[in-house]
Amino acid sequence: MRWGKWATAAVAVAVVGGGTGTALMVLPGSGGVSSAVASAAATGDTMTMTDTSCASEWAKAPTSAGGRTFTITSGATVPGEVNLDNAAGQVVAEVESMAPRSSVRLSVTLGAGSYRWYCYPQGKPSTHSAPIALTGAAGPGPVAVSPVALSDLAGPGQQYETYAAGSLATLAAKVTQIQGDLRAGRLAAARTDWLQAQMDWELVGASYDSFGDLGQAVDGLPAGLPRGVADPQFTGLHRLEYGLWHGQDAATLETVATQLQASIGRVRANLSSPGLAGDPAQLPVRAHEILEDALRDHLSLMDNEGGGAGYAETYADAQVTRVVLSELAPLIATRAPSLVSTASGQLSALQSALFATTANFQWQPAKPATRAQRDKIDADIDATLETLSVVPDILEVHRGQ
C-alpha cells in the first residue's frame, strides 16, 4: 500500500512547489504532519508573525489550559524567532529561525496562567501579543526558562578565559620539562611528565576539539588521517604518547615536543578568539561537553595511544567541569536551584570512583580496572551527564534577546 500512496504524495508536492508559495501546504492523503497542521488550523490555534505584529490571533484563541498545538506561520518578509512567554517573562516555548512564508507546528502543555507571544523579526523591532489568561485544570507544564542575554555570560566567559590562560601556562611549563627529559634521554621521566601534561591540557577544558585546528595540533588523534599514526599531521600530546609507548627514540620525540610547545604557544596567543575561548555563549556547552568527550574518547579507550591514561584524563575533565560550573553557578542558580549541588555531588562520586583505580596515588595504566570499578565509573559519569545536559538549554542565548 505504501507505494501507491507515495506516488500521490510526490505529485502533490510537485504541484505545490510550482505554485505560489502558500504558507500552509497540505498534502492530500499523506497524513501525519500535514493533517496535524490542518487540525491545528481548524481549531483556530494558528499564530502569525508579521514584520509589525505578533500573534494577533491570540486575543481570540481558546483560553483552555492543557495540551495545545499551535501552527506558527510567518507572514514576515525576514527570518525571525517566535517565543511564548509566561507572566514571569520566562520562555515556555520557542520556534527559532522561521523563514518567511513557512509554518511550523508547536506542541506545548500550558498550565493555568497568563501567556503572551513575542516575535523577533530579524533587523526589526520586536513585537508581542496581548497577554491572555488560560484557565482550566491542567497539570504543571514544562519548566519555563528565564531568558539569558549574551551580556549575562560576559563575566563568566572572562573568568573562564583567565582560568584557561593559567592552565595553558602550567601546561607549557610541563612541556618544557618534557623537552628537558628528552634532551637528556630520560624516557621514563618523559612518560611520567607526559601524563601530567595530558592532564594539564584536559584541565584547560578544550579537550573536546573546542579550540578548532589550533587545539587539534595540541591534542589531535590519528584516526581521521590518511596515514594514521605515521601521518605528518599527527602532532601534539597523543603523538608524543604514541612515540613514548612505542619505542621511539628520544631525539625523534624531542622534535615532537618542540612542535607541541609551538602549538601550545599558538593556542595561548589566540585564546581570546571566538573560535577558542572568546565566545561566552559557548561556555554553557562546555559545561557538559567536556565530560561527554571523556565518555566518548577516554572511557571508550578510543584515544589511548599507549599511555592508558583514560581514567586520569577523565578525572581532570571532571575537575575542569567543576570550574566551568562554578563560573556559571549564579546564572544556573536562578533557573535550576539544585542543579549545581546535584552535579557537584555526582562529580565527587565520579572522581572517587576513578581514584579507586589508583595505587599508591599513582594511576595504573597497565592494570585493568575490575568489572565493578568500571561499572561504577560508567554509572557515575552517565548520571552526571544527564544532569549537565540541561545547562546549555537553560542558558541558551535566544536570538531574540
Binding site: 500500500m1 505504501r2 507505494w3 501507491g4 507515495w6 504524495a9 510526490a10 508536492v13 505545490v16 512547489g17 504558507a23 500552509l24 501546504m25 498534502l27 499523506s30 497524513g31 501525519g32 504532519v33 500535514s34 497542521v37 527570518p79 520557542e94 527559532e96 529561525s97 522561521m98 523563514a99 518567511p100 513557512s102 509554518s103 511550523v104 507546528r105 530579524q122 573536546y208 576539539d209 588523534l221 584516526a223 581521521g224 588521517l225 590518511p226 594514521g228 557538559h288 561527554e292 565518555l295 566518548r296 572511557l299 571508550s300 578510543m302 568500571r374 561499572d375 560508567d378 554509572a379 559519569i381 552517565d382 551527564l385 544527564e386 549537565l388 545536559s389 546549555p392 538549554d393 541558551e396
Partner: protein
C-alpha cells in the same frame, strides 16, 4: 513442489486472485504470489523481484523509499587462487542467487546426505522479497586473477576522511554482498545458503545486519537520531541517470554497474539525546518532527538556500546544506542512498552500539560520494557520529539471462 510457484517462475503470472495487496501484483517490480499469500497469510513472504536484467536489483528495485525491511551487508575475501577458481565462485554465487531470489521448494537429496536447505524459511522456501547485490572491491583487481587492467576507473581502496575512526576489522574486502528481504530470517537464510555453497572459495571478513524503519508516522523512515533520512533522495529517471555507469572511458564489461560506497557509522545516541532540539535541528537543517527543511512547512518542501545566504534560517554548516547545496554546479554530485540502521551490543563505556549502514550508489565515486563527503568534513554533526568501517565496491552489471553469471564480462 509448488505448482503455483512454478507457474510463477515461468512468468505465467495471472492477474487473478484479487490479492490482499490492492493495486495488483506488480509493485515496484515486485511480484506477489497470490497463492503463497493465501497459504502463509503473509503476502510479503511471497514477494519476488526479478533477478535477470541489465542492472542488479537491490538498488532501485525496489527503490530506497520502499526498500525491504531487513538487510545485511557482508564482505568477503576470495580464497580461490586462479582466474578459473574465481569464475567458479561467481557462477556458484549466481546460481544460488537465482534460486534464492525466486524461492521454491529445495530439492530432496534423500537420506544419503544432509538436507539441501536449512529450513529456516520452512519447506517451501519463499523468496520473501529477497534481492542480492554483488560488488567487487579494489583488491579483487590486484595480481591474483590477472584483472589489474580491467579495474573500473574510479575504484579505489577507501581511505580515512578527517572525522573517521576506521577499524581494520570492519574494512574493505574482495567482494561485497548486500542482501535485502522483507524479514530478517530470510536475510540470514540467504547468507547462510550462499556461504555454504561457496566454502573454500571465499571467506567472510565482516558483516553488518540492518533494519529499515517504517514511516513514523508518515513520509520517509527515520534514522536512530530520530530524523527522517533520505527525503531528498533522487528518484525516477534522475536516479537512473546518476547511478548506472555509462562513461565510455570505463572498461566495456563494467557498463550497467554502479559504484557502491559502504560506510558503517556509529551514532552516539546517548550524547545526542542530551542535546537540545534547537541544536539537533540546526545540525540537520530540518525539523525533527515533520522532516521539513527549517525554512519550510512539510517534509518534501524544497529548501531555498539562495534566499538565506547568511544561514539565518538553515545554518550554513547544517548537514542538508553541505550535503546537497542545490546549486547547478553540485547537481551531478548527487547520489542515491539506500541506508539501514543497525544495533549491536554495548560499548566498553556502557553506551549502546548502534548506528547507520550508509549505502550509496553512484556512477563516479570521486565526483559523487567523495566530493560530498569532503564538503561534510567537520560539520557539527560529526561530533555525534563515528564512521568506523565499510569500503568501496563496484556493483557488477546485472545477470542478463539464465546463461549469464556475475562478472562474466569481467572474466571473459
Amino acid at each position: 513442489m509448488n505448482p503455483s510457484r512454478r507457474n510463477f517462475l515461468k512468468g505465467a503470472v495471472s492477474g487473478a486472485a484479487g490479492t490482499a495487496l490492492a493495486g495488483g501484483v506488480l509493485i515496484e517490480g515486485a511480484r506477489v504470489d497470490a497463492n503463497a499469500a493465501t497459504t502463509t497469510g503473509d503476502p510479503a513472504a511471497g514477494m519476488t523481484y526479478p533477478f535477470h536484467g541489465p542492472n542488479q536489483a537491490g538498488i532501485l528495485t525496489p527503490g530506497p523509499a520502499s526498500k525491504q525491511a531487513a538487510s545485511v551487508v557482508a564482505s568477503f575475501d576470495v580464497t580461490a587462487t586462479s582466474k578459473a577458481g574465481l569464475a567458479e565462485l561467481l557462477q556458484a554465487l549466481t546460481s544460488r542467487a537465482r534460486v534464492l531470489t525466486a524461492g521454491g521448494t529445495p530439492p530432496d537429496l534423500g537420506v544419503g546426505q544432509p538436507p539441501s536447505d536449512s529450513d529456516v524459511l520452512g519447506p517451501a522456501m519463499p523468496a520473501d522479497g529477497l534481492t542480492i547485490t554483488v560488488g567487487a572491491g579494489a583488491s579483487l583487481f590486484d595480481g591474483r586473477f590477472g584483472l589489474a587492467s580491467r579495474k573500473p576507473l574510479r575504484l579505489t581502496t577507501m581511505t580515512a576522511f578527517p572525522n573517521d575512526a576506521l577499524e581494520d576489522a570492519w574494512l574493505h574486502g574482495d567482494l561485497s554482498i548486500q542482501l535485502c528481504a522483507n524479514h530478517a530470517d530470510a536475510v540470514h537464510h540467504a547468507l547462510r545458503d550462499i556461504t555454504r555453497h561457496t566454502r573454500g572459495a571465499m571467506q567472510p571478513r565482516w558483516k553488518m545486519q540492518g533494519y529499515a524503519s517504517p514511516p513514523r508516522p508518515s513520509g520517509t523512515g527515520r534514522n536512530l537520531l530520530g530524523f527522517k533520512d533520505g527525503t531528498a533522495n533522487p528518484t525516477g529517471s534522475l536516479a537512473t541517470s546518476l547511478i548506472w555507469v555509462d562513461n565510455p572511458a570505463e572498461p566495456a564489461w563494467a557498463r550497467g554497474g554502479s559504484y557502491q560506497a559502504v560506510r558503517l557509522i556509529r551514532m552516539l545516541v546517548e550524547f545526542w539525546d542530551r542535546v537540545s532540539i534547537t541544536e539537533q535541528e540546526g545540525m540537520f537543517g530540518r525539523r525533527r518532527d515533520s522532516g521539513a527543511p527549517l525554512d519550510g512547512t512539510s517534509e518534501f518542501d524544497t529548501p531555498d538556500f539562495a534566499a538565506d545566504p547568511q544561514g539565518n534560517v538553515i545554518p550554513l554548516d547544517s548537514h542538508i546544506r553541505l550535503a546537497n547545496p542545490r546549486t547547478t554546479a553540485t547537481e551531478n554530485n548527487r547520489l542515491v542512498r539506500r541506508s539501514y540502521s543497525y544495533d549491536l551490543g554495548f560499548d566498553d563505556n556502557g553506551n549502546m552500539q548502534a548506528g547507520h549502514i550508509f549505502l550509496a550508489y553512484q556512477q563516479d565515486l570521486e565526483r559523487q560520494f567523495i566530493t560530498v563527503q569532503k564538503r561534510l568534513v567537520d560539520e557539527p554533526l560529526a561530533d555525534y557520529v563515528q564512521p568506523f568501517g565499510g569500503g568501496y565496491f563496484y556493483v557488477l552489471p546485472g545477470v542478463r539471462d539464465s546463461a549469464d553469471w556475475y562478472g562474466r564480462g569481467l572474466l571473459a
